[in-house]
Point group: C2
Amino acid sequence: MTPVNLSEKLSLFSSHWDPKVIADYNDNDVMVVKFQGAFPFHRHADTDDFFLVLSGEMRMAYPDRDPVTVRAGEVIVVPAGQVHRPEADAEVHVLLIEPKGEANTGDSTAPAAAKDRI
Amino acid sequence: MTPVNLSEKLSLFSSHWDPKVIADYNDNDVMVVKFQGAFPFHRHADTDDFFLVLSGEMRMAYPDRDPVTVRAGEVIVVPAGQVHRPEADAEVHVLLIEPKGEANTGDSTAPAAAKDRI
């Protein structure tokens, strides 16, 4: 019940593709994350994937359709099962919501990043 | 999988305490809402209540503890069962996430606002 300032939390780390848990919503981790470059294609078999761009601009890329640009102040929800990857030419800051225990990489064979709490 | 611009969605209505669904995340409604004034005290027995202030400033008030100010760029999650009410001296814009079917008013006797989709 204490407000969490997202900019303050984002100032605490500089790593990319390394989400940090900043709040809990039911059985979900509410995270901030910095993206730069391209993540491996992956999917989450059993959950949607929620992204809100806080600053900067990213693309959500798909193997089977055109990428879409997602800018600051925009939400994109990738449905369960949809193969996707975030891409960012320059660093972008994102609010990310996923169920607790869900690997960043879904069912990909890429290693799951730890979800630290800050 | 289409990005949703929150400012554009907020420009489509002017009513207060009238959340509009702009996306779905698993079994949750992702909504934008405008607050001004004070909502009735209420609680959600079975779910947390997620708020991200997008612009402006609000207070989260509780009958049993001091209110907290929540500013633009800040998240507050009210735990399930906690009696609370949002208050705003001037209009504030908020991203709100609640499970589908949950009334704004939780188990309060106040009427539940409809959750329109825009």
